[in-house]
């Protein structure tokens, strides 16, 4: 028994329930994990998607069902990418905020040192003048 049926057979309602389930998961997971599967698998995925598009021209109900899996997976992939991007931005902002804080402390320390030195200079000047 084949593990999955081709898209052409799915749209014509052939195959066992497991074979039909496997082509559905192939479309969904193939798109979701496209960057992590082999080139050969990507080729088969592209071929399957082209067959979905062909069947969609005839407004085939089963093709519409597979297309919904495709759209859902694309959306999921986009959400994951967005979350990763937001996490990276947040991390960058936190790092920048930390650096700004450190820079603030350094500036305050320098100012304090300048004021202290100025105070010392004034004190010494007064002492010298009184002498």
């Amino acid at each position: 028994m084949a593990k999955a049926i081709r898209v052409q057979d799915y749209v014509e309602q052939r195959g066992t329930p497991m074979e039909r389930y496997n082509i559905e998961t192939f479309i969904y997971d193939g798109i979701k994990y496209q960057s992590l599967i082999t080139d050969s698998a990507v080729q088969e995925l592209d071929h399957a998607i082209s067959k979905i598009d062909e069947a969609l021209l005839n407004k085939n109900e089963n093709a519409l069902s597979l297309d919904r899996y495709r759209q859902s997976a694309l959306q999921e992939r986009e959400n994951i990418a967005l979350q990763s991007s937001q996490a990276r931005t947040l991390k960058l902002e936190q790092e920048q905020s930390g650096e700004q804080q450190r820079a603030g402390y350094i500036n305050a320390a320098i100012l304090l040192a300048v004021v202290a030195n100025l105070g010392l200079l004034i004190a010494v000047t007064l002492i010298v003048l009184n002498l």
Binding site: R6, N22, I23, G30, L36, I37, E44, A48
Partner: protein, 167 residues
């Protein structure tokens, strides 16, 4: 030792190795008979890997790098990735066998509503085709191949039509 046993032995070795580096795979993935089984939140899924060499998934360099990192790939992710690769292999094998088995069962010359001629034909799987470019040429190619007394296989037919159109 037959091929499937050899493949399964290697698959078990590789899976155990990946589990050593990535603890998120433990308790989620296991090999039971010919199947890779995945337990996700009490729900079980399985795929037959007895004719698929698991290390082939590592041809993807990103996966090769991330498979050891539990923060990048967990058990469910890996199961789904393996399943996609296994099904792709199965579909590819089907495609290779099927395309070579397709032959034309009937062909007709027709006219559309604008009076334009086209060729309509069907293969042994019931797939229907239409060719509107140079229909007379297409018809002649089919007749020529048919005259050899053998089945007109779709691959041969398409190749001949392409050669004549480009020639």
């Amino acid at each position: 030792m037959n091929l499937n046993t050899q493949i399964m032995n290697d698959n078990i070795l590789y899976l155990n190795e990946w589990m050593k580096y990535n603890e998120s795979l433990q308790g989620v993935l296991q090999i039971v008979g010919p199947d890779l089984v995945c337990n996700i939140n009490g729900h079980t899924e399985a795929i037959d890997i007895s004719d698929y060499y698991l290390p082939n998934i590592l041809y993807n360099p990103t996966l090769r790098e991330q498979i050891k990192d539990k923060n990048k790939i967990n058990g469910e992710d890996l199961f789904r990735i393996i399943r996609v690769n296994v099904i792709a292999e199965s579909l590819k094998n089907q495609r290779m066998v099927t395309e070579n088995d397709l032959y034309i069962t009937k062909m007709e010359m027709k006219k559309d509503e604008n009076g334009q001629s086209f060729v309509s034909f069907e293969d042994n799987y019931g797939h229907k085709f239409k060719m509107a470019k140079n229909p007379e040429t297409v018809w002649n190619v089919y007749q020529k191949l048919l005259s050899t007394g053998t089945k007109v296989y779709l691959n041969d037919f398409k190749r001949e039509v392409e050669m004549v159109n480009n020639g």
